[in-house]
């Protein structure tokens, strides 16, 4: 896919006192021709350059979703005291395109969703049970530019931009960049 005007990509016309929004069709081109682990794009939540991003924290169990409001009408096992405020964008199992489980996909504010429980690969001490119950990790290679691999990379969480408070499993997350050198 090309991020082009012909494909419907565009930017919003600046109109601070306007009452409606106007799309300006736009061809989005690469902004930089070089990059390093120190490259920052200062106006975004993610410090994108050549990046891979995997966003988690968007699933809480819900036994029954309210179709109209997309709120949780009957709380799931994640919420023994009843559905809470971040149980939004809820769907019933019948609406699933893949695994039929009812749940909510709204942004997690209280960290009681499935991704914050012991559901990650390596959680169980029994490797066989672990592989049976948990997905495997996402593995990705270093990016290539004209068939030349990168020599350095950086890992950077966006905790400051996307979270307002922490809960137990999030306590180990750093707000500052963590660097790793590739071999």
């Amino acid at each position: 896919m090309t991020a082009s005007a012909a494909n419907g990509f565009g930017e919003v016309q600046f109109a601070p006192t306007g009452r409606s929004c106007t799309n300006i069709p736009y061809n989005f081109h690469s902004m930089y021709s070089t990059s390093s682990e120190d490259t920052r794009v200062p106006w975004t939540a993610h410090s994108y350059n050549i990046a891979f991003s995997d966003e988690t924290g968007h699933f809480s169990y819900c036994n029954k979703a309210a179709p109209g409001s997309l709120k949780c009408a009957q709380a799931g096992v994640s919420d023994p005291n009843g559905a809470d405020g971040d149980d939004t964008s809820c769907f019933n199992a019948s609406q699933s395109l893949s695994v039929p489980i009812s749940g909510c996909q709204g942004t997690e504010f209280d960290f009681d969703g499935v991704p914050y429980e012991d559901t990650w690969p390596g959680t169980f001490t029994n490797a066989g049970q672990d592989a049976l119950r948990h997905p495997s990790s996402i593995l990705f290679t270093s990016p290539l530019t004209m068939a030349i691999t990168t020599t350095a990379l950086a890992l950077r969480p966006t905790f400051l931009a996307s979270r307002t408070k922490r809960r137990r499993h999030a306590s180990g997350t750093s707000r500052t960049p963590t660097r790793a050198r590739a071999a």
Binding site: M1, T2, A3, A5, G8, F9, G10, N27, H29, P135
Partner: protein, 67 residues
Amino acid sequence: MNFAFITRSGIPQAPPNPVESTVATETPNPSQDLFMNSGDHLTVSLHDGTSGLVVVMRTSPLTRWGR
């Protein structure tokens, strides 16, 4: 923010721009989008083109691809 799923045709299933986007923009469409399975190996290519940034994804071995 512009948003589009990778489709097998390279044509977005609905407008990606934030003004004209619809529910269809953010609803996966199995008939148009590139779906992947656990364990798939992917090759992802991003490069600048004459009309904008181009993204192409291929499974390895090549059984499916999208852009």
